[in-house]
Symmetry: none
Subunit: 217 residues, 4 copies
């Protein structure tokens, strides 16, 4: 994935890069179609058509349909990770966790699209858990990154010492998933403004030590 950000200086003929880019392009298009119309519409023909290439090319770059979906999922995950990295660049502590949460929670259209894709991929994975669609990669490490943010916040006294970073991080993850879910169920109630307010409130709760308070075992 990092290859995508490497400028192709001197090896314009390298087939590896060429293929990789082509794969990425196809994965991106597949993600678009899935996000718009669901997985059942993401047929090889539809993908090829939107890519402007022939049907055979698509399967020339992938082993089979499952391979396309697997690579598409990886591409979606990589895109989110990269987005998260950009949003939290040069941020620390509470500010970082705030930015991270704004990136994760479905506020922007891009984040909403990401959640739609997650639902579709879960649906695919839940159905047949053996087809190597590893959903765990999607948010790998985000709990740790939230923890690190919150530890910095603790150090800087941005949040009370009573807050347990891990528990608070988990609450943030719960909130993100819960808001996404409720937004799909009741879009009118969970309009953009309300979703934004929820983020503000949780940050306030964090500062007040109401989130992730240590419990006695």
């Amino acid at each position: 994935m990092r290859d995508a950000f490497v400028f192709p200086v001197s090896m314009p003929r390298m087939p590896r890069t060429y293929e990789r880019n082509r794969q990425d392009r196809i994965a991106q298009v597949a993600a678009e179609i899935i996000g718009e119309s669901g997985p059942e519409r993401a047929t090889i023909r539809a993908i090829a058509e939107r890519c402007g290439i022939s049907k055979g090319v698509v399967e020339h770059h992938f082993a089979d349909k499952k391979d396309i979906l697997r690579k598409t999922l990886q591409w979606v995950n990589a895109r989110f990770i990269e987005q998260e990295r950009r949003c939290t660049l040069r941020k620390r502590g509470l500010a970082a966790s705030h930015a991270r949460l704004r990136c994760l929670i479905p506020l922007t259209p891009a984040a909403v699209q990401d959640w739609k894709l997650r639902v579709h991929f879960w649906s695919m994975t839940l159905g047949n858990p053996d087809d190597h669609l590893d959903m765990s990669g999607g948010l790998a490490g985000i709990r740790d990154r939230f923890c690190e943010d919150l530890r910095q916040a603790l150090e800087c006294r941005e949040i009370p010492a009573s807050v347990a970073p891990l528990q608070a991080a988990n609450m943030l993850l719960h909130l993100a998933g819960g808001v996404a879910w409720n937004m799909f169920v009741d879009p009118a109630y969970y309009n953009r403004r309300y979703r934004a307010r929820i983020v503000d409130r949780i940050m306030d709760d964090l500062r007040q030590g109401r989130v992730g308070a240590r419990h006695r075992q």
Copy 2:
């Protein structure tokens, strides 16, 4: 023709309970298959086979495939509502909200199955939002019911007066969705024991007034 002049004394028409049961049975089987293997495996043939009836019977009782899915969703929703009603029977206040939450959050296999089904139906609905799979019905009123529980809890001083029932109810909904999501992403971390502990903690947070605290606008 002559029958038209005979007053229908004895209700010659079938009472339709048989049909209704048959529809319910098919919907239940469809829900099972969807829960186990995803919507794409819930073909009419597969449903009929598991029901032990012929393919034509299924579409004899339903208009078409969409009708089957719609009725299946309704059946799933009705089953959850009924389950929730049973679990909160003769309970009030914090106890009721606790029971309600235990019913909603994926603790039992049945609740996990419900969440799987929700994901699958969301995936179907997100793809083509116009096909009359009304997802809003699934949890209709649960927010209100949580609110009512919490108002009773306030009255009984089970929770501090600083708690806003609506905000607390929403936090409980967020928690449920968030836990379900994280359970799918990282089943090892979100094992049964941890999920149970989350419920205990949120109840503790409620009692301590850490959930749904009023915010200044």
Copy 3:
């Protein structure tokens, strides 16, 4: 068929008449549907629905689908014969042949409908000639009746002696079929006014001895 015109004086309970009427009603509805939407839409369910009876009743009165079509064809034929009889009642000679032609040629909506039905039934018969759909009955005897008209016209000197009644009768039949065909091919050209003019012209041609002139063998 003549039974239909017999007033049911004293045997209102006679099941034969009852069934016969029910059969006729079903045949009429089948003819309507075929005329409107073609044979493939005339399913047993559609017929039963429009009749306001249940699907099973239809096949209770007929052996099978082919039987329905056969009886429908007979009903259509009988209706045309009766219509022709009514139109030529108390007419003789050229007037009778004129009336008969106006009845046969697609001038009125009813006559157009008849031609549509003929096309559909031909299509069915041509496909499988063995299924006992006897098309010959539809216009049985009309050539003879035209001949009789023209012989009377000859006697009354309405047409020249050079006209051979049989040949002229055949020309009238050709004209009817030909106009029907062309009307389907080019409805704009063969509008109602033009079709009426064609009838007038052929009658004029008949009077002038230009139709059915004797040929040397």
Copy 4:
């Protein structure tokens, strides 16, 4: 991708003649089956089987079933037009109209087959007039071509000046349709010899000025 920068010197795309031939072959087979057994037997399976290809190939070359039928109709029409052109090659005046009529009227097995196909396609079109089976194309221009023949015949004094070409042309069209119709109704009466005699007679009538005589308005 790199291909995009290569000037396409040598026309890398297939010339499509193969496809066209394959389409034509399928259309021909479809026409055969329809002519033999009616439209309802012309299933994609049946067509593919007789073509010696697999079911999927047929729909690889056509959009859907309607497309097959549409192309089949076009193929039938084109075949007739070509046949008519060949039969009237280097003929003028009465000889041309005679040849044209012999081509149109169901004399040869091929012409009979054409009329069968017309009946079947009409039946399909009458049922649902909106499905883009344009029947008008089948005999497009034949009236004009008959007119031109007869104008030449007038010039050459083959037919009397009293004959109106347009009216005579229409009478020839009527005759063709009428004979086809009667042949289907009463094949024994309209045997091959009689049909041939009808053609001879109409030509005689034409020469005698008995066909298409001008009428006073």
